[in-house]
């Protein structure tokens, strides 16, 4: 997996591109970006946390360490997007589902570029357990890009960022006075 900053920045840049190419199309930025980070938050973070817990309290049931993998697989991504989209207001569900799934697909696509010495991802699970990856990038190579990507993303979204800062500033000064 690449780091979360890289995934979120790539999603934000993809949506900025959509905004430029199709300005009239609804953006659904939040669900797309959420989709781009959820595979790691749901599929990797619990494993890291529970591994630390296991080191302290003793052996945990194997499913607690291996059962999160589907969140990082296409079949789990579809189910997660469907389940989450159902929690949204009816008129937004379809768009939220598509954007959550789109963000997750972008996440997986970028992760597939990495090289895990052939370990790869079980793309077609449960139909096949054959791992797949393209092996073009080192697993830590994104560490060097992340800061530059964050700056580039901030530049691409500078208009929204400055209006956000203005709104926060006026809210803050309203509270002070």
């Amino acid at each position: 997996m690449a780091d979360l900053v890289t995934h979120a920045c790539l999603a934000l840049l993809a949506k900025r591109g959509q905004q430029v190419v199709r300005p009239s199309q609804p953006l659904h930025l939040a669900s797309f970006v959420a989709g781009s980070v959820l595979p790691d938050l749901l599929g990797r973070l619990p494993v890291d946390v529970l591994t630390v817990v296991q080191r302290r309290v003793g052996e945990l049931p194997p499913i607690l360490l291996n059962g999160w993998e589907p969140f990082h697989l296409p079949v789990g991504m579809v189910l997660t997007s469907l389940g989450l989209a159902t929690l949204f207001r009816v008129d937004q569900r379809r768009a939220v589902f598509i954007n959550l799934l789109g963000g997750m697909a972008l996440h997986l696509l970028f992760d597939l570029l990495q090289d895990h010495a052939g370990a790869g991802y079980l793309l077609f699970y449960p139909l096949s357990t054959r791992p797949f990856e393209l092996g073009l990038l080192g697993t830590e190579s994104t560490v060097w890009w992340a800061p530059a990507l964050a700056v580039l993303t901030a530049f691409a979204w500078r208009g929204s960022l400055s209006s956000l800062a203005r709104r926060a500033g006026s809210r803050w000064s309203g509270r002070v006075h």
Partner: protein, 154 residues
């Protein structure tokens, strides 16, 4: 509860059950797959000399005389590093490494052929934490809860 809400609850329940079943399936696959360290330890004699990979394992003890102990999710294994092409690697406890090598049935260890040190794993994890904190802070900007369900802003 009206029909629409019942249907929504059914969809969410279906997704949760399907994800749990898939999680059980991946767990079974990880524990029983015919390759890897677990498989080798199940039948050491049959797996003697078998190729295997230890992906993202932690250095558990300081390396001594070409031997290092690695751990991953509560399991530990001894790895012989004396036959590595680049000589014995300079390893510190807590570092994350990936090893490719062969299984040795006589002492249930691994003879490393290639060893990659993931020196920037902690930086990557730190970036993950930064991303998570920023994401949590930005969550109210993207979504709000309304009477008809969650609403995406913008």
């Amino acid at each position: 509860m009206n029909t629409a809400r019942l249907r929504d609850a059914g969809i969410v329940l279906f997704c949760v059950i399907a994800l749990v079943l898939l999680g059980q399936g991946t767990t079974r696959f990880m524990l029983t797959r015919p390759a890897g360290l677990r498989a080798a330890l199940r039948d050491p004699q049959a797996s003697d000399g078998a190729d295997l990979m230890l992906l993202l394992w932690h250095v558990q003890t300081p390396p001594q005389a070409g031997i290092v102990e690695l751990s991953h999710q509560g399991r530990t294994v001894v790895v012989h590093t004396d036959a590595l092409s680049g000589g014995r690697p300079d390893l510190d406890v807590g570092q994350v490494v990936t090893v490719q090598g062969t299984f040795r049935a006589d002492d249930l260890s691994v003879q490393a052929r290639e060893l990659v040190v993931h020196r920037y794993r902690r930086v990557k994890q730190a970036l993950g934490v930064v991303g998570m904190i920023v994401g949590l802070m930005a969550l109210p900007l993207g979504f709000r809860v309304a009477p008809g369900g969650v609403v995406e802003r913008g």
